[in-house]
């Protein structure tokens, strides 16, 4: 059995302003296997509430959201399970 998480995709929307990260998430979700997880990396502060609101509007599950950092700076990692 294949773990749905392993089929997931990643959207790097760092540096983009809303609504672009949400549009990228929606485009990735449309191509994703139902039940798989799309990971979104973002830096816009509006992405945090807006990804959560998108999940509610699209019946997707927000698996987790956390701020993290690498050598490019702080960014938000959101994990969304596509319905």
């Amino acid at each position: 059995m294949v773990d749905a998480d392993e089929l997931g995709s990643e959207v790097d929307a760092r540096g983009m302003r809303c609504p672009l990260p949400i549009i990228r998430l929606a485009a990735a979700a449309r191509l994703a296997v139902p039940g798989s997880v799309v990971t979104v990396l973002s830096t816009d502060p509006a992405a945090e509430p807006d990804i959560a609101a998108w999940c509610r509007m699209r019946n997707a599950e927000l698996v987790g959201q956390e701020w993290t950092a690498d050598d490019t700076g702080d960014f938000l990692r959101s994990r969304v399970r596509v319905g």
């Binding site: 302003r17 809303c18 609504p19 672009l20 949400i22 549009i23 929606a26 485009a27 449309r30 816009d44 502060p45 509006a46 945090e48 509430p49 807006d50 959560a52 609101a53 998108w54 509610r56 509007m57």
Partner: protein, 397 residues
Amino acid sequence: MTSGPPARAPLSPGHPHPSGASTQRAYLDASTVAPLLPAGRDAWLAAIDEGWADPRRLHREGRTARLLLEGARESIAADLGARTEELVFTGSHTEAVHAAVLGTLRARRRVGTRVVLSAVEHSAVLQATHFAGEPLLIGVTESGRVDVSGFTDEVGAEGVALACLQSANAEVGTRQPVAEVAEVTRSSSIPLLVDAAATAGHAAVPAGWDLLTADPRSWGAPAGLGVLAIGANTRWVSPSPADDGTERVPGAVSVPAALAAAVALRTVTAGRAESDRLRRGLTDRIRAVAATIPDTEVVGDPEQRLPHLVTFSCLYVDGEAIVDDLDRLGFAVGSGSACTASTLEPSHVLAAMGVLTHGNIRVGLPVGVTPEAVDEFCAVLPGAVARVRAMLGAEGL
């Protein structure tokens, strides 16, 4: 009462719209600043001639200014449900809020520095409590109503010096349960600041406050004045250096602005039942049209709300682009989206409610708005949203 200004004035040239621009304008951004009310404007102009002198002087010119100032105080106090002697004029709504928060914390510093407040308060309230105290933010429901039991629980905590709850939210129009909260703050002997910036001039100001703030610009008065009421039994010490002016805060008051605010408030208060009925009907119409646009959420409480505000968020829409598109079509609207704010931060109100912060459109109908202007707005809105979505390549997502 003077007749209203034309709600639609000629559009200034230089902003053509590809879809065929409207040649007239409608100002539909009266959530915080309404167009000058003609009656207030007339009073303002008259008071510039009559009330320019220093109201502290004993000569005839000074006495005239004093008379106008004290008449304005009495009238505004009565219309807001305050006593004349409780009313303080400041230079702006922001200054009134700062004085309310800082002066109460100063008077109660032995009690503590904690302030209980809703997460959707006016930014001046949030900033002042951050500056001078330790804010305890209370969450709101998806409709923007404060969690009453969470609020009242925190009011009972150790070291709470002040509680703040707006009468209604200026961004989404949701009215707050001030009476319920006031009952608890009163029995706990915690002073309650009610910021009525969104409500005053549009609906009755709820009772139960110990401190009250209001913004005359929201009821069609000129800028340059703020209103603060400090309850007769409320402990408050000025947070500013002493000053021998007419107010409990430093600085000279603009007598023309005070008179204009009083006349404008009296005018909108007298016409409130009628403008409430008219604007509630028109905002219902906008709510219904917005709800038919795909992936659009009308936010705020559908019933417990101010009569003149409607807010909605459209998925995959850039807030700045939609405000610009509507502007070029002749409609001035507001937005809580980050790109339209000076801070680049999304609206703290929309974020606290857990609703979309992008693609946000905030409509505030001024007193005297015409049904025709709203009909025209409703007619162009779906097309404007579709255009901005197409621009971003977001159709069909």
